[in-house]
Symmetry: C2
């Protein structure tokens, strides 16, 4: 069959909800990643699970690769069309299908974004806790097992997805999970598709757990003499079982960046941004403890942001960390990377990385979800400068090897995409073969987002 | 190759740590289930992961089925040797390999039991929250995705296993997960093996999350006029975000049973057993709220059990629910079953089930982890009476169909084993084919616990 027959079938299905214009294709070929753009051959815009089924069926019949696409905010190259093919842009699937306050869940199409969900839930008494630093789609967030600042208390996408609708390469609609809070009925397919980066199927609908809005929220900023002191405070907070909602580390470089970008005047030293959720009594008890730990490790000051406006300003500054970093070197590209280590290793991992950054002579502010042992390096690079790019990649590689040597993982929340492919063997060893066997079983012709998550086997 | 060659190879490996004596085989062929005993051909007692590898390799070479065995406390027939073969009794693998308070995890061999772990952690400031009603092994608890009374606050085994060591049928040692608290690096194999009931491999080691012991624990007993009133209190508690640690429903029949068995004199009406964890201030705030909800739904009394001794007596009575039920009909067998439904459907599901029990004229006390929408029926049967056995099975089936019709699952925490096999198609539809594909990929000759979890395909 000819490619034109393929295009014709797609067109019969979707009419003008497809495009092979170069700008459209290029807008779908890179995401927020530092990787080179690899545009798909065609971009389609389905509106229903049924349309995804038909698209996938047509692609499978012609052996055309399929790349699911959410908001295009992936930073590890998940959306690169390495082998061309069809990009399925799911943003048209942005319907909220059910809000169920009694059972505390919401069912959405995969293209609903987290901001859209936040707005929907405003005033409902419920919230959805997972928030990466960008306005990603919920389908994309599930696919990369995203987490963010609230994960220390509320878990990651893996903990907050109840059920999924997934289209597999054979055109079947798979429903995983149920509306029940727990189950022991068979293999946990929900947790298999969460984090599979579109390599096993296209997520088209998600049922997500809602959480009750806390009665009271306090936020605080706390300055420390050293990274060790800040991280030690985080460790003690976790070990003592304080159910802190956010505990974010920003190093001196990152503090400088956000002061500049957001016109703030925090001390430019290692800093924790904290948030506490609960009743007033609970929150005050938590605060009292964390303050005590912080001062015992040499914190200089606790700055309270109790009212909503100043709290929002604080977290807005945190959310703007990426543009703030970028403003330190206008025109630069961001090589954003993350690792996660056992919390006891975190201070050493960060300090060693800071020394490494210094030696590499690149600007790379550090930002961490330190309650989870997870931190980010935002490496600012001139992507035209090949030598610098190579130094940045080497820095990233040393970071990953450091984390793995400490019993950690090569990515806590960004995913593998193409950017971390080369570390999969080192991290997983023999279990990589089990992953490959699963991929082979579910997508035997390697059409679903090929080249992502699983490195090609060396023969 | 002859079977005697097979036995000889096993014997060379394990010496006298294997047995084909009938009493030993029979002790390994049924667990706590109501199903007929199906003994394996031989029982082996390895002490290391390496010995499991060699055992599995020998079995695979001779195409001999393998049934992993923990404490034999499964109630859905997970350990029945449906096709004979080798039972791998893991109780000799009972070493604690690492206790890491700094990173809040413990690594154990699969044969360590929860009581053993509890004793080990006594006084450490940490605890492991998952406790089924029996002294199961942690390997078994992972394999059935167990949970228990604390799950409403602390999650199930799926949420509390960080990493696993698994032996697959090809004799490989697979390490899943890491010591980091979260990861986005590849397929979530940990969550795939948790709940796989030994059908994908033999779990030999587990790294488990520890939780900080709460500063304060309060327990209470609260009597209600109706099941609806008790469940409504549970629903409101959850919806309002009260982080309750345990919220257990016992119906009037179950209350009668435990009063009799444990010489207590609670009111024999629908009752909640509650536990609150936190600082004194937090706990008192939680209590205040739940009391308010309970009285608003017509609760007659809140009975506090603040001191440790009375609290222990309370939960001992709860833990003894199974023998207490059994004492109502000496000589009977227990057909224990559980379902889990969206919490909004729970009251109706329980009340409809109570009517059904009445019509069936069988004693079947109800016990529920109601914060999760999960409840148990402990059906007391004379297994010699075929008509009664059939009525009990029909009651179980109607319960499962009721739960599924409500958007729930056929088992919240007991697992599929053989007892719930027949509902897998109804619950999972097309996704069952994905489960079959995974099984086929990882265990192509169906040697790992064959006949469990996945129903045979009708041709």
């Amino acid at each position: 069959m000819s490619p034109s027959a393929f295009f014709q079938e797609l067109q019969t299905l979707l009419g003008d909800r497809m495009s092979s214009d170069l700008p459209v294709r290029e807008a779908h070929g890179v995401g927020f990643s530092y990787h080179d753009c690899q545009p798909p051959d065609v971009v389609v815009f389905p509106q229903t699970t049924e349309e995804v089924v038909k698209t996938v069926t047509i692609c499978a019949a012609y052996s055309i690769p399929i790349v699911p696409f959410g908001a295009g905010t992936s930073i590890e190259g998940h959306v690169l069309a390495l082998k061309g093919g069809v990009c399925i842009d799911l943003r048209g699937m942005n319907q909220v299908l059910e809000v169920n306050p009694a059972d505390m869940y919401v069912t959405v199409q995969a293209g609903v974004t987290r901001n859209q969900l936040d707005e929907l839930l405003e005033g409902s008494g419920f919230f959805f806790p997972i928030g990466p630093g960008v306005n990603a789609t919920l389908g994309g967030m599930a696919s990369t097992r995203a987490s963010g600042t609230n994960a220390v208390r509320y878990g990651t996408m893996k903990d907050n997805v109840l059920a999924l609708t997934v289209v597999t390469v054979d055109g079947k609609i798979i429903k995983t999970g149920s509306k029940a809070k727990k189950s022991s009925a068979g293999y946990d397919l929900t947790r298999l598709f969460v984090g599979a980066e579109g390599t096993l199927g296209v997520i088209t609908e998600l049922t997500l757990k809602l959480h009750s809005e806390p009665e009271t929220i306090y936020a605080a900023v706390c300055s420390f003499p050293t990274v060790e002191a800040a991280v030690s405070t985080a460790i003690k907070t976790i070990q003592k079982g304080v159910p802190i909602a956010k505990i974010e580390l920003l190093d001196n470089v990152m503090m400088h960046a956000i002061n500049r970008y957001s016109s703030l005047n925090y001390e430019e030293v290692p800093t924790l941004f904290l948030e506490f959720h609960g009743s007033v009594a609970e929150v005050e008890r938590q605060v009292q403890k964390v303050e005590e730990y912080a001062y015992s490790f040499g914190a200089s000051a606790f700055l309270w942001e109790k009212d909503e406006a100043s709290r929002k300003r604080l977290w807005r500054a945190r959310t703007d960390a990426a543009p703030a970093a970028l403003a330190m070197r206008p025109g630069a590209k961001l090589m954003s990377t993350d690792v996660c280590v056992p919390i006891s290793q975190l201070a050493k991992c960060i300090v060693d990385t800071q020394h490494d950054i210094e030696e590499t002579k690149i600007i790379a502010p550090i930002l961490g979800h330190v309650g989870d042992g997870n931190f980010h390096l935002t490496i600012l690079i001139d992507s035209e400068d090949k030598a610098e790019f190579a130094r940045a990649k080497a820095l990233n590689e040393r970071l990953v090897r450091r984390a793995l040597a400490m019993g950690g993982t090569c990515t806590g929340e960004h995913g593998i995409g193409v950017g971390k492919l080369q570390y999969m063997v080192l991290e997983h060893g023999e279990s990589l073969e089990v992953m490959r066997a699963i991929k082979q079983a579910i997508d035997p012709h390697n059409l679903m987002n090929p080249g992502k998550l699983l490195p090609e086997k060396k023969s």
